[in-house]
């Protein structure tokens, strides 16, 4: 009797991967979640209880990568289990976890979250609360639907060649592009906030007072100074310094 992977199997692995980081720990990191997600597939193809046990013990090792891009590894693992080529899985896991972690962290935590926060903050600062929904929906569409679900299928379809598929996505260039757009929008947001919310920049330059201009110049200078300092001290201390400066200027 031959077994084959169906959409139901993918869905089971997908939903089980929601608990991927539940038992995150110092020794094995995400390995418990990795085995938990793949367990139904292992059970399906290794029919004897002893074979399942051997697979589990053999694969009980350090595994740590980005939780969203881990789906690519799941997909390849399903393919390898299906082909009864489990010996390659151990090496593949080790080879893939660091590049996927670097790329995934840069995409999910580094740039995507920041860009979505910037967009939602722009909406919220101009009193459109749909900004929160925009953040929530796009965040989930990209990370939980595209990377988590389609990553599984892309990994399964491409097998060990998935790395070429990921390289073909040209994610590094896309990250650089988002960074440039983010910076341009950041500049535009600060200008618009100063003009519309704080009423500091008047385009006609008739209503601006010397005091206001002077405070803003000092604030901008200090803000950039603190931004540089931010890398050296913990954010809470920076935050306290911000507050003290604002208090001093306000008084």
């Amino acid at each position: 009797m031959s077994y084959s992977i169906t959409l139901k199997d993918f869905l089971i692995v997908y939903f089980r991967s929601f608990l991927y980081q539940n038992l995150l720990n110092d020794k094995y990191f995400q390995n418990f979640g990795f085995l938990f997600s793949l367990y139904p597939i292992v059970e399906k193809f290794n029919r004897s209880k002893k074979a399942v046990k051997i697979f589990m013990v053999k694969n009980f090792e350090y595994f740590n990568t980005n939780p969203y891009l881990a789906s690519f590894v799941f997909g390849v693992a399903i393919k390898l289990i299906e082909e009864e080529n489990e010996d390659k899985l151990k090496k593949f896991k080790f080879d893939m976890m660091s590049p996927l972690a670097a790329l995934g962290d840069a995409i999910s935590w580094g740039i995507l979250r920041s860009f979505l926060v910037l967009i939602s903050v722009i909406f919220i600062f101009f009193e459109y609360y749909t900004g929160v929904l925009i953040f929530f929906i796009i965040y989930n569409l990209i990370l939980n639907v595209f990377f988590r679900f389609f990553g599984l299928i892309i990994g399964y379809k491409n097998g060990l060649n998935v790395i070429f598929k990921i390289a073909g996505m040209d994610l590094q260039n896309k990250i650089a592009m988002i960074k440039k757009i983010g910076l341009i929008m950041w500049g535009a947001t600060v200008f618009s906030l100063l003009q519309n919310q704080y009423k500091i920049i008047d385009f006609s330059f008739q209503n601006i007072s010397i005091n206001q201009l002077f405070s803003i110049l000092i604030l901008t200078f200090l803000a950039f100074f603190l931004y540089k300092l931010n890398k050296l001290v913990i954010p809470m201390v920076t935050y306290l310094i911000y507050l003290v400066i604002i208090i001093l200027i306000s008084i």
Binding site: F18, Q21, N22, L23, L24, N25, D26, K27, Y28, F32, F36, K49, K53, V57, F60, N64, A101, D105, W109, G110, S114, F115, L118, S120, V121, I122, I124, F126, Y129, V132, F135, F136, Y139, N144, M177, K179, K180, I181, G182, L183, I184, M185, W186, G187, A188, T189, V190, F191, S192, L194, Y198, L226, N230, P235, M236, Y239, L240, I246, I247, I251
Partner: protein, 255 residues
């Protein structure tokens, strides 16, 4: 009241690491959810935004555990609700600072949870060796334990916060000038916390792009219908231009 909201915060916090990671535990969304529950959406989203921007560069990379943003937002909003701070803006920074302090405390406790998980996983491995594969038992017990631990942390944080802030108000907030200064500080919050975002968009020549954004906003402002629309259009315009330049470089530059 505090029990009810601590439970909601602990439930939302499970999304942080334990289940799914949908982003509902991000301060910006947590703020909105708690804002709806507190019947003050505007204030909830405002606090969520501020905490989100302060914590934007703290990422769970490798073994690093960032301060817990869900708890920071939760405690800040619970305390604000307790003191009716939305009517007295001068106390917002005090409550926020306490929330940030508690978030950093919880970060230390999260490290202990990792150690607990190591023990549990070793127990699981022993079970596997004895032919007992019990994934769900461990998963569900960790979910329940984490829920109660974070519930207690939020609950304790709220009570400690009430005690501390009462005394801070009694000792320091008698001065009119100090209250006035803190009111002003709240006014400038959004502008200041936006600076944290700059670390995320780290490019070698980033000041040029910021200046370009300011220039474009300045050029558009006399004819724009709304500031939001002009920022979105600037974003779209810059996307088209950067995409075209990249496309040109890729296809024609070598020719």
């Amino acid at each position: 009241m505090i029990i009810k909201f601590s439970a909601v915060v602990a439930l939302l916090n499970l999304d942080n690491k334990n289940i799914v990671s949908t982003g509902i535990s991000r301060p910006i969304v947590t703020g909105a959810v708690l804002g709806v529950l507190f019947n003050n959406l505007h204030y909830g989203i405002f606090i969520g935004c501020i905490v989100e921007l302060i914590m934007i560069n703290l990422m769970p990379i490798g073994a690093f555990i960032p301060p817990n943003g869900t708890l920071i937002t939760g405690i800040t909003l619970i305390l604000s609700n307790n003191f009716h701070i939305e009517k007295a803006g001068s106390l917002i920074p005090v409550v926020l600072i306490f929330g940030l302090f508690w978030g950093h405390m919880v970060k230390r406790i999260s490290r202990l949870l990792w150690l607990r998980n190591s023990r549990l996983v070793e127990l699981f491995l022993k079970g596997v060796e004895n032919d007992k594969i019990t994934f769900f038992r461990y998963n569900i017990s960790v979910l329940i334990m984490d829920f109660f631990i974070f519930f207690l942390l939020t609950f304790a944080g709220s009570y400690v916060g009430i005690f501390i802030i009462q005394n801070v108000v009694r000792i320091f907030f008698t001065s009119y000038y100090l209250q006035f200064a803190f009111d002003k500080a709240v006014f400038f919050f959004p502008l200041f916390v936006l600076i944290y975002l700059l670390n995320s968009f780290d490019l070698p020549n980033k000041s040029y792009f910021i200046l370009l954004g300011i220039l474009l906003a300045g050029l558009v402002s006399p004819i724009s219908l709304s500031p939001l629309l002009s920022i979105v259009l600037i974003g779209l315009f810059s996307y088209i231009v950067i995409f075209s330049i990249n496309y040109y470089k890729e296809h024609y530059y070598e020719l």
